[in-house]
Structures are given as C-alpha cells and as structure tokens.
C-alpha cells in the first residue's frame, strides 16, 4: 500500500523541473530580461535515472537497471526532438465545438439492439479468460 500511495505523487525531481518550467514561462510572459536564460536552461536540462524510475512507478512498470539506462538515453533524445513543438505557431487555435456526447444504455443487449447484434457477447468466454475467478466473479488480490 505504501508503494501505491507514493507512486501517485510526482517525484521531487519531477516537481523541481516543473517549477523551473513554470518559472520560465511566467518570465517569458512578463518579458523579464532573464527570460531567455531560463528558457535555454529548460531546453538543455537532462533527465536522470531517478526520473525514469518515477515514471515507471507511475505507469506500474518494472524495469531492470539496464533497461532504465537505455530508456533514459532514448527519452532524452526523443524529448529533445519533440520539444520543437514549442516553436509552432498556434494563433487562432480555438477548437470548433462539434464535439458531443453519444449516450446509450449501459447494457450489452441494448447496445447491440440497433445493429441487430443482440446477445453477441459471450459471458463464458469472458469469465474463462479471468486469471482467477470464483463463482463467476473476477478474483483479485486484497486492495486494502
């Protein structure tokens, strides 16, 4: 349980980077003289192995030491590249509001009704694939 609680908190080093990042933005906005320096600092900072460990913990993925090192160097170069998104011009970028919710009854039978696919789901096939089950229910380890 301790592990779970810790994992949900961003790591201290992630937080530090975030603060630097925010600082650079507010500086840039207010056009302070130091803004440029902060930005350059942000562009060139490197992740460290601790950041990879924290991200892996957040994503619930176990990594070996060697994998961490590999991922660190990959992520540095990939994030260095995708950063150029900051240079894209995005004026006039209000979303067109054509997004709407599509509702249906929360029932597999009704969900299929409009398509004449009633009773398509196989309960047996679903239960058969549970790694562990009891009386037709999914069985997992204690959560609390």
């Amino acid at each position: 349980m301790r592990g779970l609680a810790q994992a949900d908190e961003p790591s201290s080093s992630l937080r530090e980077h975030a603060e630097i990042d925010c600082l650079s933005k507010s500086c840039a906005k207010k056009e302070f003289g130091h803004a440029r320096e902060f930005r350059i600092f942000c562009y060139t900072f490197k992740m460290d192995i601790k950041d990879v460990e924290n991200l892996a913990q957040l994503a619930r993925i176990e990594l070996t030491e060697e994998e961490k090192k590999d991922l660190l160097s990959d992520m540095d170069s990939i994030l260095g590249y995708v950063k150029q998104v900051e240079d894209l011009k995005v004026e006039n970028a209000e979303p067109e509001l054509n997004v709407y919710n599509v509702w249906r009854e929360d029932s597999p039978r009704l969900a299929q009704a409009g398509q004449d696919r009633t009773g398509e789901f196989s309960r047996d096939l679903i239960i058969k694939q549970f790694p562990d089950s009891q009386d037709g229910f999914l069985k997992v380890k204690k959560i609390l």
Binding site: P10, H17, L71, D74, V82, Q84
Partner: protein
C-alpha cells in the same frame, strides 16, 4: 490451377459467380501458397483452422444464387481486429493468450457478405512502430528482399498481399501503418477519413488517430473493401455519417498541391525524389494541375499526441481480467511484473514518454501545445483544400531498410514524416506503387501518397485508378 498473381477481387467475383472455380478452390490455393511462403516471410501469426469450412459456407451461398462483392473472397486480418472466439494478440506478449469475446464491426460486415478469413497477420506490438520489428513474434520480411523490413505497423498484411498469400487484407493506420508497409511491399493501402470506418473491436493505439482500412493489389479492390466496411456505427461514438462532410463537386481539371519545401529537405533519398518527380510528370500529362504548397513538419506534434494517448490506452492491460498475469507478492507487484514482462521495449518507452508529457508540470508545454497546434493545422488544411483538390507526397522518404539496421527509435519516427499529417487532421490518404529503387541489386518498391479532404475517398480512387493505368 488458379493464377493468383493476376487475380483481383473484381475478377475473382466474376469467376466465383460464374462457377469457373469455387470458394473452396480459391481458399485452397491460398492455403497452399501460405504453406510455401509463410515460414520464410512470417506474415501470418496464425492460419485459422476453419478456412475451408468458411469457404464451403460461401460456396453454399453462391449455389443459392447469392452474390456479394466479398462473398468467398479470402482475406488476411491484422492481429489487432477482434474475431469472436479467435486469438488476437496485437503483436504483444501481454495478450498471447487472449481470445476475442465479440466481433469487430468490420468483421461483422465482412462476415455477413461471406468473406473468408485466412488468418491473423503480424504487426508492431500495439501498432507502435514503422517496420514490424517491434512484434513480440519476430519480424515480417519484405517479399521483394527478405533481408529488409516489410514496413509497419501492418507489415504482415502488406507482405501477405504482396506475396500472394491473401487476395487482400485489413490493416489499421495510426500514423502511416497502412500506407508505409504498402509502399514498401508494392501494394495499395487506403487510410480512410477518421471515423469513416468503425473502430469498434479494434484494439486502440491512439484513439484520435486510429482507423481501419484495406490493403489490396488494385485501387478497385481497395474501393470494394472500403465500400464493404465503411459507414456509421452506433457502437463507435466517433463514427461519421454520409453527410458529416460536404460532398465534393465534380470538376473538369483537378489541382494537386505538392509541399516541395518538405520534400526538398535532408533525409529524403535521391531515388525517392527522382521517382517522385517522374510521377509528377506523369500526372501533368494526365491533365492535373500541379501547384507548390507549404506543409509543416508534423512529426513532433504527432508523437506527443501519440505518446499521450498510447500511455492512456495501454494502461488497461494489467493482467487482471484477461491476458498474461504474472503473480507477485501483492497487487502492486502483480501490476509491476505483468506490465514489465508483458510489454515490449517500444511499448514501455511510449508509455513512459506519454506519462511524462501528461505529467502536471509538462502538460501545457507538450500535450496542451500539441493539441492547439493540431487545431491550427486542421484550419490550415481547410483553407488549403479550398484552393487545391489533392495533396501529393512520396509515401516514405526512404525505401525499405535492412532488418535491424535502425536501432535508434527517433530515426524510425522520422520515416513517418509524410504520413502522420493525414492522421492529425483526419483526412483520407492512399499510397500507390510508383515504381522501384534499385538497391544492392534488388528492386525495392516505392510509393506515392495522395491526401484529399474529409470524406473525399472518391477523389483518391479516381486519381489512383488513372495513375495505375499508366504505370
């Protein structure tokens, strides 16, 4: 003996209906071809044990006088589309024991018409890659040069069609996954308009980019499959209607925009450029008006959204309800071990990158910015398509590379430079064979890509058929 090399869906339809050969004859011919070639190419991960039964059922329907475009047509299906009661692994170890509990809408539609499903084809794990080298079940080899990749992520489907192991196939396209392998293997691949084909029953990679589409030998065949699988679906809330986008009016002379500044930059192979210039000349001779346009490089924007959505979509694979489960001391350890061992390297990399770009301190700089840029790009495209009808680029900046040659993930991402844009904007795009590059004594296929405005697949088929006729 049926000559599979020149057979198309259109000609097979006539011969099946005219009783020249039966669906069982046709399926048997493909099974024989698969037996000969698949162990070398690794295009299929599984050949279904009921292929001849499906074909027999199709023959029964033909005997009763039924005729549908896809009745008795043998297809390969990418290992990411659910067929009830069949294994579907998305090229991943974490789903090696997963059996689909329902049919994807595209499968349901094809099954109603009586199509015959031959088997499931290899792919990059969870459709993350550009070469099918990220599959947990080994790489798919290019039928034109087995030392090279087939492209990805639908590499198995493209290789199967190219090598005559299927008459046509279904793939899925997130950032070029239908078009790139089709170009590398010398076949036609269509990425439909986003929402044009139901994603219900497609294992999600990037939900705002994913779309299912056909891979075939001719434009007509791709069109036949597209017509069979398209249409609004109650079960996919992003599915579009026939009238979602305005109909394109017929014009006498179509104009094609070419983003030369993007094509002239470094990293584009000279053979690819030469071939592309040749294609433009041919299109001019066909009467198309060619115009210079500007398009931005969208790789950074694309991959930020890709990482973010992949990390969210792959979170569901935790070994709790289905798939591989690795037992640990407690619940947290179950998760850590299952995901650590179940996901391959590229999947883990993108999950971490997605977790990073979505984390509180970086959200605005990466994901937020990328979403704004995406809206701006959509507007840019709308304006562009008020001036031109089609956009033309090479499908890939380079021909198929040697297996294992590219070890740096970023260098593989960059290959998607021409294909990702259509997914970001949601417009349809098609890759058509445009000739060959001669590399180390082997002829490697090249492809060109057309994009059209939302819902304008008709324009793509039209230009593709004209181009096909002169190549």
């Amino acid at each position: 003996m049926i000559d599979l090399t020149i057979l198309t869906i259109a000609t097979a339809r006539k011969k099946l209906d005219g009783k020249v050969f039966s669906a069982v004859d046709l399926a048997s011919a493909y099974l024989a071809e698969i037996k000969k070639k698949n162990s070398e190419l690794n295009a299929y991960l599984e050949i279904y044990d009921d292929v001849l039964d499906q074909a027999k059922a199709a023959d029964g329907r033909i005997a009763k006088g039924e005729s549908h475009p896809m009745l008795g047509i043998p297809l390969a299906i990418k290992d990411v589309i659910l067929i009830k009661g069949r294994k579907v692994s998305a090229g991943s170890k974490i789903l090696q024991n997963y059996t689909a509990t329902y049919n994807a809408t595209v499968i349901e539609k094809l099954r109603k018409q009586g199509a015959v499903f031959l088997g499931r084809t290899n792919m990059d794990e969870f459709a993350l890659g550009s070469s099918t080298e990220n599959s947990a079940y080994g790489v798919t080899k290019n039928p034109h040069d087995i030392s090279r990749v087939a492209g990805g992520t639908s590499g198995g489907s493209s290789a199967a069609v190219s090598s005559g192991m299927a008459l046509a196939a279904l793939g899925s396209d997130t950032g070029g996954s239908i078009r790139l392998p089709s170009a590398f293997c010398g076949v036609i691949g269509l990425k439909p308009t986003y929402g044009g084909v139901s994603r219900y029953g497609l294992i999600a990679a990037v939900s705002s980019f994913d779309v299912i589409g056909p891979i075939a030998k001719t434009t007509e065949d791709a069109q036949i499959i597209f017509n069979a699988i398209k249409g609004n679906d109650f079960l996919d809330s992003t599915s579009i209607n026939d009238d979602t986008y305005p109909k394109i009016k017929n014009k006498d002379k179509l104009s094609i925009g070419v983003p030369w500044d993007l094509i002239n930059q470094e990293g584009i192979e000279p053979e690819v450029k030469e071939n592309f210039e040749e294609a433009i000349k041919n299109l001019e001779n066909l009467g198309y008006h060619i115009k210079d346009i500007k398009l931005p490089n969208c790789i950074a924007l694309y991959y930020i959204i890709n990482f973010a959505e992949v990390s969210a979509n792959l979170a569901r694979f935790d070994g709790m309800r289905y798939g591989v489960h690795i037992n640990g001391k407690n619940l947290l350890e179950d998760y850590l071990l299952t995901k650590g061992k179940g996901f391959g390297k590229e999947s883990r990399r993108r999950i971490l990158l997605g977790t990073y770009v979505l984390s509180a301190g970086y959200y605005d700089a990466y994901y937020g910015k990328a979403q704004k840029a995406r809206i701006a790009l959509k507007k840019e495209f709308k304006e562009l398509f008020s001036e031109i009808d089609l956009i033309l680029t090479p499908t890939s900046p380079i021909p198929a590379w040697k297996i294992g040659e590219k070890s740096d993930p970023l260098s593989i991402y960059l290959v998607d430079i021409f294909t990702v844009t259509a997914n970001i904007v949601g417009v349809p795009a098609i890759s058509i064979p445009s000739g060959f590059a001669e590399v180390e004594g082997k002829k490697l296929p090249l492809g060109i890509q057309f994009m059209a405005s939302h819902g304008a697949e008709g324009l793509l088929f039209e230009v593709s058929k004209k181009f096909e006729a002169i190549s």
